[in-house]
Symmetry: C2
Subunit: 302 residues, 2 copies
Amino acid sequence: MIPTRTDVVAAARRIDGRVHRTPVLTSRTLNALLDAALYFKCENLQRTGAFKMRGATNAVALLPDDVGTVATHSSGNHGAALALAAAEAGRRAIIVVPSNGRASKRAAIERYGAEIVDCGPTLEARETTLNEVVDSTGAAFVPPYDDPRIIAGAGTAALELLEQCPGLDQVWVPVGGGGLAAGTVLAVDGAAEVVLAEPELARDAKDSLESGTLLPALPPKTIADGLRTALGRLNFEILRRAGCRVHMASEGGIERWTDQIAQVMKIVVEPSAVVTLAAMVENTGAARGRVGVILSGGNYGP
Amino acid sequence: MIPTRTDVVAAARRIDGRVHRTPVLTSRTLNALLDAALYFKCENLQRTGAFKMRGATNAVALLPDDVGTVATHSSGNHGAALALAAAEAGRRAIIVVPSNGRASKRAAIERYGAEIVDCGPTLEARETTLNEVVDSTGAAFVPPYDDPRIIAGAGTAALELLEQCPGLDQVWVPVGGGGLAAGTVLAVDGAAEVVLAEPELARDAKDSLESGTLLPALPPKTIADGLRTALGRLNFEILRRAGCRVHMASEGGIERWTDQIAQVMKIVVEPSAVVTLAAMVENTGAARGRVGVILSGGNYGP
């Protein structure tokens, strides 16, 4: 069943106090550059360094009491978030990690106390390995993005942003698996235009939404490692119904803005988080008026 | 005349809306490391990237209407702050910049529209050059730290922190010229212990406060470029009366924590801002209970 704004509001109440209400930052320099008023929702400053903590916390809170173990597959941020959410709820977590993930993200998963199971770099390898884990341990699968509990949790970031900055004209979000994008659509619920941004090298969401057919992921080549996955089926449906536009960002732009944001705004962001800003710069006029921007994460290291 | 908490409260009202109310961030990882509850007041996310915007804005707001030009000497952050505060008030700014300042800070001063006059790397060279500028232009001197308007403005960061985090046991601040430290003492006004941190290589504040005599600055060798100046006379008096303890930080600790904070907290800080954290780690037990930490700035670049 497709979740609604009501589910996002319920998720916000459920995770209150377990996740940070992240700050919104502004930059005179970036406003001048884009001729718009930008409001950056800093989910890089969220617990575990990414918005993923919202969905993971919501999903774990909704599990039946007799579920002792959770499992997922994740290139990083969802894995770390589920590891911490499970640890705080007194449950065991097993994370299937593809071999092409960042070492720093893998280290975070371990630091939060989860067990890691390795797999190959494809979605197929992830799913096969995850199924083996679930079969052998009886763990409850908490999917990384294509799940109503995860979507509703992710949407709480936009819900907060709308409270913190009333009267936004647009809300920009990166799209990979689409959980954040879909959750944002539900939270915003027509009060502003939700605009998606995607790396040109991972343009399956753009092509899927424009063709009306859910297409598979492209080879995982973009530096924006959080956006390499295919768009989820439920998320595709939510984004398609909303008629969201998708703007493209070049790899050069993504790399440049990852560095520039640190210089200009004094915050650390990961490449996946600046795809929005790179797409705004590369698509003149696309950002208009009062513009919310969800900076999805800050886990960027060797 | 020595300013009081009343002056800090008045400054807060005066600069409201012209400076950011900066967020307070926490880190489970750092709390565990130091066995304390740390609350980081992020003045690195302040306009111009440092708390200096508070004092500069307060001082410019207090100038008589007929003052068309302001001038100061600054290794960077105060210069950038005065440049922007002056520009927004429609006044001309001339900044005397010593040759040992960071290029990125110099670039910021220019970006905000101020004129730069170069000088040698000593306090004496700064003061001589500044006097020449004042004599030839009739500019009003806005000192970098040893001035009641600047101290009261700087204190507004701690005033906000106390509102955002009631019941703090300590507030840690870095000490260089001492404007932030003195302003914090006034704002806190006995409600918590104010603890100072200083680079071992620039320990004039510690030696001055422990000997009861204001001593000159040491050679400007520390990587914490914002803390190389001598303690100001007025600030010395305020800190001496308050009986503040000063803890030392090693250069290695300052370098390490500048990088570590970016990894752990996803924010960019300059070396001067992490002297507190380095000193806490190097002085076991010095940080106790609920601990406010003022992260003074984030302007760190080539």
